[in-house]
Symmetry: C2
Subunit: 242 residues, 2 copies
Amino acid sequence: MAHWKIVLEYDGTDFSGWQLQPNGRTVQQELERSLQQITGSAVRVAGGGRTDAGVHARGQVATFSCEKALTPEELRRALNGVLPEDVVVHEATLIDDRFHARFSAVARNYEYTIAVGPTAIDRRTAWSCPYRLDADVLRRCADRVLGEHDFLSFAKVGSDVEHGRCIVTRSVWVMTDRRWVYQVRSNRFLYGMVRALVGTMVDMARGYRQEADWDAMMASNDRRKAGTAAPACGLCLVSIEY
Amino acid sequence: MAHWKIVLEYDGTDFSGWQLQPNGRTVQQELERSLQQITGSAVRVAGGGRTDAGVHARGQVATFSCEKALTPEELRRALNGVLPEDVVVHEATLIDDRFHARFSAVARNYEYTIAVGPTAIDRRTAWSCPYRLDADVLRRCADRVLGEHDFLSFAKVGSDVEHGRCIVTRSVWVMTDRRWVYQVRSNRFLYGMVRALVGTMVDMARGYRQEADWDAMMASNDRRKAGTAAPACGLCLVSIEY
């Protein structure tokens, strides 16, 4: 059995997220269907980062084992030939079979894009945030995220995790005239964490909540204390590091 | 009568171009329909740059006159409230009635985006060019475009123009790992010119045609001598200068 690592890009708009579901079109499903078509046998795929419905990826990673003898370039081309137009494979590599897309990861990078003002061209990949935001507040909030903290207050209710501690090694807003992009890197992310962080930062930057509440909110470990999740369309899984 | 200038962005994917047509959804049609809905009377709109089916705009300009008394901010909001999600208005300004979106323009800026490798997220706004391209050839071709030339060889057959002379004041490829973007500025553009220029540059950069043919091709004034037009999806009207 050959063990493979592939790097994927997808437009999450028309997907019910990464993970297989009884109902709803998912990226994992399209990928497993394509691999079955190419190899002739059922293939189970592991994803490096679970993305929600509507969330995009430029650097999702998947691992799987299959029988068929193909070179990496042949597999990449074969997949791009059968995958739908909203998923593409950028790289395929043969890899040690102890390597696992999810468990071998040491860090993940996400970006959240806010469009300044309305947008037509980027309406699928940016949140056209209707509020006037204070850039300095966003920057100070991002600084508070940096470092090792318990992020349970930002984890979707019902997410089943042992603990909420994450080590955030990048947390910064990169701002141009048209786009404000939040870049965040962490050893792990809780379910729904980036969207909850952005939603909370936006609540503070538009003056709806006080910045001074941040520490108490973090300490509460209560998702209801943080802000509404920012819309899925603005979020993108940029890369996974191993 | 109040005379207005508005700046528009649109995702051209689902439009049969800017200009009114007997059949097919166009941006002008959506804009005139929206203005009629707001003002209660028929409004005829002039566009600053005619864009083809599938071509996008971040800075299209339109001018029109109408009766209804609104402030610029009220008109902008009213339009964004009734326009479909693939068109937005960024600015609305009251302007002298001698100002015309098309005839007052002194320069236009276009960008053509090539995705390096396949792409899912940007498949509507970039040409995922299947060839391996020589960056140096593209750069040298762009240099040849710069200056005052007769561009009839790059004008769509059947386009009815008095002459083909354009003064190109910017013609450059801006290249990153993922995207190669051709930026071009000219006092005027012939119909289909940017896509024909990009298609011809790509033919040369992939080794399908000789760079040495450029001058003879320009001098021929024969559209059949230039390359196939690059796909519409990669093209964007960035701004119009007055």
